[in-house]
């Protein structure tokens, strides 16, 4: 699966605070003691959110202290010569895991998507536009150099350079100016106020490399592991960084990471003991894995596969067609037969039910063949048949298309499926046809989801939906310091997408990963699969050297 993006936001765990102090009325302007503190040091360790989905069997025996030592083998989904150590080019889940292995970001996102300080000790702003980042003292790169402001400036600014070919370029454009204001002080000025800026820094692409790094054939980060082998398409290995600033983690002595794209081979490697953890379990094999005593990690991530209907060409220009298609989705069937129950229902808007801003009062759109028939007949394309494009590149889209085609047959509509090869799908077909499937991974904040996928200027506005009022609300939310007010704005934005955009979103995928009984410390996180791709610095082995 192409992971072009990251993470959704989280629903409030108990006492989830958005870390902002009330603004003091007499706040001085820049740099004074009245500067609003947006990030505070959180208690060490991640607060595991109590999640409403089926409790995963991450075996954290309460009170069990992690043991140090041992070697862990992990098999991800993909390995190719495109594997990279360059944060700007991280594109797949395996890249994100590699990134968390060797590098650190300024912030990390915890299990309920709250940004927590990492290399940044504090991130503060008075006007939500000019942000002051204070770096942690005494952090060293793997080559021994001390972390300073120049490294951060370089790491952030390089994403804006087109020659870098950064995956995060669209996001990085948000930063108008990045400059060092002291040895450990960085000032970032945004194009406009944005209260969610700290979340954005939680993208693994924005992790910190050494100032001036141009050769990424070797890594030089500050992260929990030091790279001992990097062969693109074959293997990534690391050993524990003894001087890690975030100690006592990591617990493992060494790690090997490979990619096995073939489903059955990956599961076999876990079953035979060749690897200890595998990513992306096939839901159909869950029962067999459980029966053999393997653990399963279910993470309620906000990844979704959606059908995008372009509103600017073809049948999508008729509101009735779009509405009819939305009623044609048998969401329960998609959840139960395509995802074998490992999914949550979608309501044609991109915010997952676990999210703290989820519009829970918005009525769930249901499968209604009669209404679908009514609207589709009115649009006049019942007989002509509109082809729907799908591809293995967009997770589960081929199966969802089949479910949809069956529902269409029931109401007497012809819906030809055109299955495209994964190779080249994103560049050649996605967003270029009247009706086709896409797949989007969650992002650290609602703001990013809306800005990158639904605003009029969004680079990935799949349905070409334009609504000036929505664009205005986006700006309002960014400026809004008051939490209840932002909640209301985000609620309205979800309603607008649900009603107006050409996006049919039947389900959110639950990430499934499996592990051998000797692996401990895995917990579900909303920040992405395998603890927001950061599991290697948290897990330990039951048989590790004490």
């Amino acid at each position: 699966m192409r992971v072009g993006r990251v993470m959704s936001a989280g629903r409030p765990a108990k006492g989830c605070r958005f870390l902002m102090r009330r603004c003091r009325a007499d706040a001085s302007t820049t740099g004074g003691p009245g500067r609003r503190q947006v990030l505070r040091l959180a208690a060490a360790g991640l607060a595991a959110a109590a999640l409403p989905t089926r409790a995963s069997r991450a075996q954290t025996v309460s009170g069990e202290t992690p043991r140090r030592g041992g070697h862990l083998n992990f098999a991800g989904l993909a390995a190719s010569t495109a594997d990279t150590l360059d944060p700007a080019r991280f594109a797949l889940a395996t890249d994100y895991i590699r990134g968390h292995m060797f590098y650190d970001g300024l912030v990390t996102l915890d299990a309920d998507m709250t940004p927590r300080p990492a290399l940044a000790e504090r991130i503060e702003s008075d006007d939500l536009r000019t942000w002051h980042i204070t770096l942690r003292r005494g952090v060293a790169f793997h080559d021994g150099a001390a972390l300073n402001a120049a490294d951060v400036v370089y790491s952030l600014a390089r994403h804006k350079d087109p020659a870098t070919a950064s995956q995060q370029r669209a996001v990085a454009q948000e930063m108008a100016e990045i400059k060092a204001t002291g040895p450990l002080e960085v000032q970032v000025t945004l194009n406009g106020p944005n209260v969610d800026f700290p979340s954005m820094l939680g993208l693994v692409g924005f992790c910190i490399v050494r100032d001036g790094t141009a050769d990424f054939s070797r890594e030089n980060g500050t992260g929990p592991f030091i790279c001992t082998e990097f062969s693109p398409g074959v293997r990534t290995s690391g050993r524990r960084n003894p001087d890690y600033w975030g100690g006592p983690a990591p617990w493992l002595d060494s790690v090997d990471m490979i990619g096995i794209s073939d489903d059955m081979s990956r599961h076999n490697a876990l079953l035979s003991g060749d690897v200890d953890i595998i990513a992306s379990v096939n839901p159909r094999l869950v029962r067999m894995l459980r029966g053999r005593g393997f653990g399963l990690l279910e993470s309620p991530v906000g990844t979704y596969t959606d059908l995008a209907i372009r509103l600017d060409q073809g049948p999508g220009r008729m509101q009735d067609f779009v509405t009819g298609m939305k009623y044609l989705f048998n969401r329960e069937q998609v959840r139960d037969s395509v995802f074998m129950g490992f999914a949550r229902l979608g309501n044609d808007q991109p915010i997952a039910p676990e999210n703290r801003y989820f519009a829970a009062d918005l009525p769930q759109r249901v499968f209604d063949p009669d209404r679908a028939r009514f609207h589709l007949r009115k649009s006049g394309v019942m007989e002509s048949g509109v082809p729907v494009l799908c591809s293995p590149a967009a997770l589960a889209s081929v199966d969802i298309a089949v479910v949809l085609q069956y529902a269409a047959q029931q109401i007497g509509m012809d819906l030809p499926i055109r299955r495209m090869p994964a190779d080249g799908y994103w560049t050649e077909y996605w967003m270029k046809t009247p009706m086709g499937f896409g797949n989007t991974n969650p992002r650290p904040s609602l703001d990013m989801t809306f800005a990158l996928n639904f605003a009029s200027t969004a680079p990935w506005n799949e349905s070409r939906w334009h609504d000036p009022r929505f664009d205005q609300l986006l700006l309002d939310a960014r400026r809004q310091r008051d939490e209840p007010a932002r909640r209301r704005i985000y609620h309205d934005m979800q309603v607008m997408i649900h009603e107006g955009a050409g996006i049919c979103l039947p389900a959110f995928t639950t990430s499934l990963d499996a592990f051998s009984p000797r692996v401990r410390g895995l917990r579900p996180s909303q920040a992405g699969q395998l603890m927001g791709y950061d599991f290697l610095s948290h897990v330990w082995l039951a048989d590790g050297a004490a």
Binding site: R2, R5, Q167, T427, P459
Partner: protein, 318 residues
């Protein structure tokens, strides 16, 4: 005779070089015809036109196609296959470890499959239409018609998962002794060997039956020559040519045609690299891989032809 053989070999190598040139040109333009290029693949969903254009410029992909081809050819003639568009590393550096792995796997498979196939093929032909021959025929046909990934997956499930005799993955780094070498290579080699052997046995059997029906064999039988002697002295020398060709054809796919096996056992070989590079449109790597596969194929078939020419029993002109 020897001068004649030399002339034949020279002509053979000449045609080989012509095919090589054709293949290199064809592959280059076929890759160019694929939708998208390395810039699109690198940027993926983020490929905005401006970003893709900038990247294309930095990779010199905005030059005309023929110019890039000329550059690549010039490099090749100097023995420099260029650098990977994707990683910026020299192609040679990226290919060398993979080629080594592939040759190791292909070599091990050859050592196992060729002698066995010769033996079994001969046996089948000698005892034609006996129970042994029928069982072998059914077996070989079965193996040829079942896809390789199924054989490999089932084998892994049985031997690695259920009985835990061998590892499910072939990690070449874990080899520190002869025993480990066998453990690591047992699964991929036996899977590969069974597939190549099945083809070879069928072809060798057909060749030998052909030879057995020749008049001089009939003559030998009538003269009362013992069967073993007939097979080894009368039939085999005349069958060497076609048999060598059969073997060469079966072996030629061992370098580039084993992508399924490499995937299932997570074995980093050349075939996997080629598939990766096609997916990512990394043209210099695709070209060099194709060249290698082609060279192997041509080398083997040429060798088989030379063996065939050289093995023609004296006194019966080539």
């Amino acid at each position: 005779m020897n001068a004649g053989l030399a002339r034949l070999v020279a002509r053979r190598i000449g045609t080989t070089l012509c095919s090589l040139v054709f293949v290199v040109v064809a592959i280059f333009f076929m890759t160019a015809a694929l939708p998208g290029d390395v810039a699109d693949m690198l940027l993926g969903q983020n490929a905005t036109p401006a970003a893709a254009q900038a990247l294309r410029h930095s990779l010199h992909l905005d030059q005309p196609l023929w110019l890039r081809f000329v550059h690549w050819c010039a490099g090749m003639l100097h023995g420099d296959p260029g650098t990977s568009l994707l990683t910026g590393r020299p192609v040679g550096e990226m290919l060398a470890p993979r080629l080594y792995n592939s040759l190791l796997l292909a070599g091990a498979t050859t050592m196992v499959s060729v002698p066995l196939a010769l033996l079994l093929g001969l046996a089948c032909a000698t005892w034609r239409d006996t129970y042994f021959d029928r069982v072998m025929t059914v077996l070989t046909l079965g193996i040829v018609s079942v896809p390789a990934f199924l054989i490999a997956t089932v084998a892994v499930f049985v031997f690695a998962v259920q009985f835990r005799i061998v590892p499910a993955l072939s990690d070449i780094r874990s080899i520190h002794s002869v025993g480990q070498f066998f453990l690591t290579f047992t699964m991929p080699v036996s899977t590969l060997a069974s597939i190549t052997m099945a083809q070879m046995i069928r072809m060798i059997r057909a060749c030998m039956i052909d030879v057995f029906s020749a008049p001089y064999i009939e003559m030998a039988v009538l003269k009362g020559v013992p069967p073993i002697r007939i097979v080894l002295y009368h039939a085999l020398p005349n069958a060497i040519g076609p048999v060598a060709n059969a073997i060469a054809l079966s072996l030629s796919s061992l370098l580039g045609g084993v992508v399924v096996i490499e995937t299932i056992f997570n074995y980093p070989g050349l075939a996997q690299l080629m598939v990766d590079s096609v997916m990512l449109r990394d043209v210099p790597i695709i070209q060099s891989c194709a060249l290698l596969f082609c060279l192997t194929y041509l080398f083997l078939t040429t060798l088989a032809d030379i063996v065939a020419l050289a093995s023609v029993p004296k006194g019966r002109g080539a």
